[in-house]
Amino acid sequence: MIATIVAKRIRSLGPALLVGVAGLTLWELVVRVFRIREFLLPTPSSIRSELVDNWSMMRHAVWETGRIAVSGLLFGIFAGVVLALVTTRFRSLNEGLTPLAVAVNATPIVALAPIFNAWFGITGTLSNQAVVTAVVFFPVFINSAKGLTEVHPDEIELMRSYAASDWTIMREVRIPNALPFFANALRLVAPLSVIAAIIAEYFGGPQDRIGNVITSNAGLARYDVAWAAIAVASALGLALFAGALIVERVSMPWRLGVGGGDSNNNPGRET
């Protein structure tokens, strides 16, 4: 059973891997054949060697940026979920806040980074964490609030027939109903947190973070190093995205394919 699942996973990853390898090879060939200048586009192989040569610097940078992205992400998720719960509980608050949140969400929050630098100081991590939190907060809030309120009326009616309290309805119906909405938001904001952190770093601050490694090396015309840093950043984004998928799987076993949730269960025949 496990073996077939693993085999299926690998088979489903196969095409993606193939396309990836083919893409990198093509890239390498195009750059070499057309003699594209280094500062326009370095070859994957030179990016790889810069990555290896600068590994300790890269590792430190990804750790610094990763810490900012993850802490901002967690705080933004927490704030978004808490506010969604509160606004669902008090309908009038919801009606006032949700349109506002949708409007704010449509504005480019990362553009606030220089202002946050002025507010929270440019040397610490707080300013960039605040940017990440602000970027993460709105999608989480909007989606969670939607999931908490868009419950099938039949389900509320059933709970009312049990004379269930609002709190019980929240716990037994609204929260489980909101999980898929929340998971969608999580898939969106997990990689977004890395993007937000890096863009925030473009506006200055300590030089040992991914965003600054990219800008400073690009400034010195060391484009292959900048590209190596970008590769590291995308790996970080991917890792967080994978984390979001795992959370989704674990929190919603009932959404797995038919039979997947209880492969160890041997049902009787229906009579």
Partner: protein
């Protein structure tokens, strides 16, 4: 009509007193769903509601269950306002739509009302196993609802309503999605439970033989606005599989059919 001064007479299980029900009052889409309904249901009675689609059968069940409030008139259940009966958990309801929670396994869905009533874990497990057997779903307890067919889901929702042995059962076309054999089996089981527990049943159906086989009385509703057209007493005695072939059974179904034909013709 209901409780005598000394409290010696039993109150009615359900007493619907000149009830009108309209939706979206004052808007363009106002619907008069029910009009001047008067109906008393004795404790221990089995009453079926039958009538054309959209005539207000589900609405009537919701009024009894205090899930809707009548535009005028009053509904009392076991001598109290319907609201108090709901809070006291006097009834269990099987909705027209199974309404299972996707995130709960079948067993946990059946145990939901028991959890809300603070039953112990052991008692819950015992009862849900018993209920699964009753609706012939043993072995499916650990499934998720989306892994079941429509008829199986409906049986889970029946098991859920029966699980806490309510004094009053409100059932909205509970067997509509079942095949003929399962349907007859479930009818037999429902009658057995009804007899054993002395519970009162209000049962909505589209099936004439089903209403005749199950009920003490069949209430025929007319359409738009729903009104009680006629109430047919059914006297078939003890129900057995042979009842369905009894000439008296035939007579009853004919009577119901004619009443229905009269209201359908009037539409």
């Amino acid at each position: 009509m209901s409780t005598a001064i000394g409290g010696t007479t039993r109150e009615h299980a359900v007493c619907i007193d000149s009830v009108d029900m309209a939706f979206n009052v004052g808007n363009d889409d106002e619907v008069q769903a029910l009009s001047s309904i008067d109906l008393q249901i004795e404790q221990g009675e089995f009453v079926s509601l039958i009538g054309p689609s959209g005539c207000g059968k589900s609405t009537m069940l919701r009024l009894i269950g205090d899930l809707l409030t009548p535009t005028s008139g009053s509904v009392s259940v076991f001598g109290k306002p319907a609201h108090d009966a709901r809070v006291d958990q006097d009834y269990g309801m099987v909705f027209q739509h199974p309404g299972l929670f996707d995130w709960r396994r079948v067993r946990a869905n059946i145990e939901l009302p028991l959890e809300l009533h603070d039953w112990s874990k052991a008692d819950r497990t015992d009862r849900s196993a018993e209920m699964l057997q009753l609706v012939k779903l043993d072995g499916f307890g650990e499934y998720y609802p989306r892994q079941l067919s429509g008829g199986m889901k409906q049986r889970v929702s029946i098991a859920r309503a029966l699980s806490f042995s309510p004094r009053l059962l409100l059932m909205d076309e509970p067997f509509g999605a079942l095949d003929e054999m399962t349907r007859e089996h479930m009818q037999g089981e429902l009658l057995r439970i009804w007899k054993e527990t002395g519970t009162t049943v209000v049962f909505v159906t589209h099936s004439i033989p089903e209403s005749a086989f199950l009920s003490n009385r069949v209430v025929v509703l007319s359409a738009r606005p729903g009104e009680v057209n006629s109430v047919i007493d059914v006297n078939l005695g003890e129900r057995t599989p042979d009842t369905r072939e009894d000439p008296k059974f035939f007579q009853t179904t004919t009577e119901i059919r004619e009443a229905l034909r009269a209201v359908e013709g009037a539409v």
